[in-house]
């Protein structure tokens, strides 16, 4: 397969960037989007040009490191899919594909398609954990948790922190990420002791990082590679209002 690519190139933070056109040929349909970019980079290196910088790690959809905006959609056109899991067969042979970095003030571009998502780490640092004394592991059934609640908490905990929700949100809001991280604890008894301070501090940090407000477009849920529901955002709001009491 052959593709025309419009890729955002930016040498560094604060430097002006621009799209550059590339053409890749002999792409196997089973190749992932990142393997296609690898092929492009090998070609660029051969020609002595600067390869395109992009993030990736596990390349099996579980680490949350990769993330590109492909034709205006975070992680490309497929639902519940990370960029590394997008196969080239979903694109039409010979088409033009626009590739941009995740764009948000809170996610500054480091280089080309790589953005700094440490804002998420700072939000987690404010309360995305349960304070526990270290020691031997507690008995698995010491605290009973109903099956359906456990499942819901697990669904929230499926968030891999890739930032696609922010990238896809028309307002660049981090509501889906923060709400999933608040929900996974709010649903479980272990998380209840610190639920008020957690909601206050994590939401406070989310706002301080400069993410936008949520307009309930639910585009984040569509972009989320783990299909995390906006039910979490509703729960985060309820948790936050409860924390004010």
């Amino acid at each position: 397969m052959k593709f025309n690519l419009k890729i955002w190139r930016q040498e560094g933070p604060e430097l002006p960037g621009a799209f550059r056109d590339y053409t890749v040929d002999n792409i196997i349909p089973e190749m992932s989007f990142l393997e296609m970019l690898d092929a492009l980079n090998e070609e660029l290196i051969r020609k002595g040009e600067e390869p395109v910088a992009f993030d990736s790690d596990c390349r099996e959809g579980i680490c949350g490191t990769c993330g590109l905006v492909i034709d205006g959609m975070a992680h490309g056109p497929k639902l519940a899919c990370t960029t590394c899991e997008v196969r080239m067969r979903v694109f039409e042979d010979g088409c033009t594909i626009t590739v941009e970095p995740f764009r948000a003030k809170a996610f500054p571009v480091i280089k080309d398609l790589v953005v700094d998502r440490s804002a998420f780490d700072r939000i987690i640092g404010k309360g995305g954990y349960v304070s526990e004394n270290t020691g031997s592991a507690p008995d698995g059934n010491a605290i009973p948790v109903p099956k359906d609640i456990a499942e819901k908490a697990m669904d929230s905990a499926a968030c891999i922190g890739c930032g696609a929700c922010v990238a896809a949100c028309p307002n660049a809001s981090a509501s889906l990420f923060v709400s999933a991280k608040i929900s996974q604890f709010a649903l479980l008894p272990q998380g209840h002791a610190e639920r008020k301070s957690r909601a206050q501090k994590m939401v406070g940090q989310m706002d301080a990082e400069g993410f936008g407000n949520c307009s309930n477009h639910a585009e984040c849920e569509a972009a989320c590679p783990k299909g995390i529901s906006i039910e979490n955002i509703a729960r985060m709001r309820a948790e936050y209002m409860r924390s004010l009491r």
């Binding site: 764009r103 993410f211 477009h217 569509a222 509703a234």
Partner: protein, 240 residues
């Protein structure tokens, strides 16, 4: 608590939802009153309704003040969300697209500010025209043996003008689009939704928005094409 509400993005969403739902309540009551315009009684029921409202005295002013507070709050919060949006993504995407699936991104949801501004401009004009009775005939009429302001005549006269009637229709369609996203969104903002009830509330929002828009826009169209002639209206009513 109130400062925290205004300072956090979540608090502002909750306030926008509460003020929005209060305005939704007003719209429902307003439409219920207006539908008396369709009764073939020469405006007796509508004038009686208008007179009843006017005779509430101080209570009416409390209601008006409350509405104004909700309206202004809703507008200011909406402007705030838009400013957040501009600040949060200074560099725009070259290409944007919705991924579909569970996304509820529609023209409605993307145009809340535009449709909101249209409503914001419409409301003072509407108050000027019918509440302050400007550019519409001043007259009184007898209802249940009492001389009251003839609001019915003002409405009939105003909507015999096709430009005014069709402008009202256009604004009501826009109100419908605003409510289409606004109705379900308010419940989501209040943290009340779950996957079980979201589809039901979302559908209810679409139906509600359509009902409100159609309910309101029927009135100017009815007056324009089937309404009584304002010139002969009162002669007919007071005739034998």
């Amino acid at each position: 608590m109130s400062t925290k509400l205004l300072q956090s993005t979540i608090g502002r969403k909750v306030l926008a939802a509460i003020s929005g739902l209060a305005l939704v309540g007003f719209v429902v009551v307003h439409l219920a009153g207006n539908l008396t315009l369709l009764l073939p009684d020469g405006g007796a029921a509508f004038n009686a309704y208008a007179h009843k409202l006017a005779s509430l005295g101080p209570l009416l002013w409390v209601a008006r003040a409350g509405l104004l507070v909700f309206f202004v709050t809703h507008v200011l919060l909406a402007i705030g969300v838009r400013l957040d949006e501009k600040r949060a993504r200074p560099d725009k995407y070259a290409v944007t697209a919705s991924k579909g699936g569970p996304s509820k991104q529609t023209w409605s949801s993307r145009s809340m500010l535009v449709t909101g501004v249209v409503i914001l401009l419409f409301v003072p004009l509407h108050v000027w025209m019918f509440t302050l009775n400007q550019g519409t005939p001043h007259a009184t009429v007898e209802v249940h043996g009492e001389q009251v302001k003839d609001v019915y005549l003002a409405v009939v006269t105003a909507f015999k003008n096709p430009v005014k009637a069709w402008a009202y229709v256009a604004v009501m369609v826009i109100l419908g689009f605003h409510l289409r996203h606004g109705f379900w969104s308010a419940f989501q903002s209040l943290g009340m939704l779950s996957p079980k009830c979201t589809p039901a509330i979302y559908t209810a929002g679409v139906v509600f928005a359509a009902l409100m828009a159609v309910g309101f826009l029927i009135l100017p169209l009815y007056m324009l094409y089937f309404g009584p002639d304002p010139e002969t209206l009162r002669a007919v009513v007071s005739g034998p």
